[in-house]
Symmetry: C2
Subunit: 408 residues, 2 copies
Amino acid sequence: MHELSKNIGGVGGFRAAGLACGIKGNDVPDLALIVSDRDCTAAGVFTRNLVKAAPVLLDQELLRINPGATRAVVVNSGCANACTGQRGLENARATGALVAARLDCDASAVFVMSTGVIGVQLPMERIQEGVTDISPVAGTQGWQTAAQGFMTTDKFPKLASARVRLSGGQEVNIAGISKGAGMIAPDMATMLAVIVTDADLTATQSQTLLEEVNSVSFNCIVVDGDTSTNDTVLLLANGASGAALASEDDVAAFRDALQDLCVYLAQAIVRDGEGATRFVTIDVDGAPDAAAARQIANTIATSALSKTAFYGSDANWGRFAAAAGRAGVDFDPADLELWLGEGERLESPLQLMQAGEPVDYDENEATSIVRQPEFTLRLSIGSGKGRARVWTCDLGHDYVSLNAEYRS
Amino acid sequence: MHELSKNIGGVGGFRAAGLACGIKGNDVPDLALIVSDRDCTAAGVFTRNLVKAAPVLLDQELLRINPGATRAVVVNSGCANACTGQRGLENARATGALVAARLDCDASAVFVMSTGVIGVQLPMERIQEGVTDISPVAGTQGWQTAAQGFMTTDKFPKLASARVRLSGGQEVNIAGISKGAGMIAPDMATMLAVIVTDADLTATQSQTLLEEVNSVSFNCIVVDGDTSTNDTVLLLANGASGAALASEDDVAAFRDALQDLCVYLAQAIVRDGEGATRFVTIDVDGAPDAAAARQIANTIATSALSKTAFYGSDANWGRFAAAAGRAGVDFDPADLELWLGEGERLESPLQLMQAGEPVDYDENEATSIVRQPEFTLRLSIGSGKGRARVWTCDLGHDYVSLNAEYRS
């Protein structure tokens, strides 16, 4: 039992703030700090890109050595601190140390995240000034400005919270911020997100819950198929509510709320996909296993031809079938079936392809579906039990303009 | 010893023609016929997409049952005859049979190729009229109109020929037509091409030569990463010159000419890439093996972020490094080195990254390179012997417009 809010009123013992410290210039927020008044357990999932940014390497190290005494996450936008070598790693450590000095805690208690241009060193003087000036607060305002500090090409800040009632009657809060609009590919962490809770979780509980939920939320989104060097999702739990997950039911209730929140934050990234005008759900079923279904869904979701068809309101299902056929999954094209329907879930679907052949459908009806801002494409490739759902957007002129003109 | 011409004067015993038969409307050429006066040996390579068009299935069958007595190839644009089920296969057979009736040969002697919209049945009445009206001729004019009949979103016809002097003093001719501008991905046949020669080749010789040459020409090009349902390259040899490849030297000389011709035809597809404004060579070396090098080169070549950076004249090498890191090839990011240079081959390169860290290079110099219509990007990922070269283009507004508005 939980309710999801698209804002963050507050989470026991956490404070947050965002601030413009001059990394991006133009007085745009580019620094965020999230602080817990007490030690947190921490869990994290990270990009699987071999080329990992300095803060990713640092955070992975912190999780290994100190997953039970986290106090803060400091986030900057405007500079990814990736491909920056030894100096980049020293700058990431120095950023954490500056925050630790302000909080009077160990440097290993401060996680660091960066997002922005690759191959440029962090402007440490500005970071230092920013860390000195930033003042995390407990209420809504702090979380709003923090979410702004995460943004790069994002058009809107992404934040949400959920309150979960446990079996003993206690309530715990979960809150999260995400960022991302481009360099978004499936099957990785694929963006930045910080999720905090005042529930009392062990580090192992946090890590297990985060990995479970990540696999059906952040790992199911595609904007452009490019996987960032910086992707990180952190979950911090400080126990300020005094409530632990005492039963299987409590774990399930908490997981449901966490999943709902992460799906919301993940979908917000797709809805804010660079230049996106369509939100498309791709459902694949009948595959030999879930991984095979996922591979087909991802191939369609990253196909330039499928994405430009979405953009052009063209129900050009031949492109979707062709993308499925090159996904590297073995199936019999004679089994291929395909439907389109409005909305985020498939409702009153229109069948376009049956047993590998075109159905005699009404093209106007198909066009009216793909003209909607949200629609669903379902492919069935056989009689297997494997299924997957992926969320993606279209590829339009604004994506090209943003990425030809913006050095990200 | 051979010379390459960007036209086809004539090849002994072959005739060709193109014609508008009304599949595409607007009186645009949409049918081509290439005929040999005598039996040819035939070789072919085909798309590895599971969803194969009817003519691909037919041609694969013909190659199995009758690779030594081919007389003609009939090609239509405007309709891919893909995802068309049993009726599509019958239409492909009927198309071949119509040509066979005109030539008074067996239907198994006629290969069929189609390109265009997926999921639509061939308009057989128009095909029938076209096959009745088309009149292949031996000279330049016939090959020019045939190449036009191949085109879909192509902006120019793609044809070339080479004359090879063999060790015994005899000369043989090779000529080829290709088409393609979108739905182009590496490691497959990736487009339509017909190559003919008056050399006397066995079917086995043809197939071996075609596969060798294909792997370093048509299989090395990327436009958008989407692999067509129809990709086919055929090589027909009718022996009209009376000259066989009698020695290793002759085989080598013929292979060189064939490779030169296929590289030209393959590069022409990239230069005509939908909306392309840049021709980019991607060289990867230092990989454990050639396949690993190819995988990294392909990942950069298909990356939306890399391609929009090319379009924007932005030497945004962080995106190239990030694409390499997600390619699925194991390497140490600390070994990564990166250069840019003008032209189709790397000349006087500018180093941007050394031992995994940024070099202090002049950004204006880097920008002036990627402003050129042709430039080369070289990545070295270690000390292995594996290397690969891939040709690709940028992703710009015209690609989006073409594919949002055109039902291909």
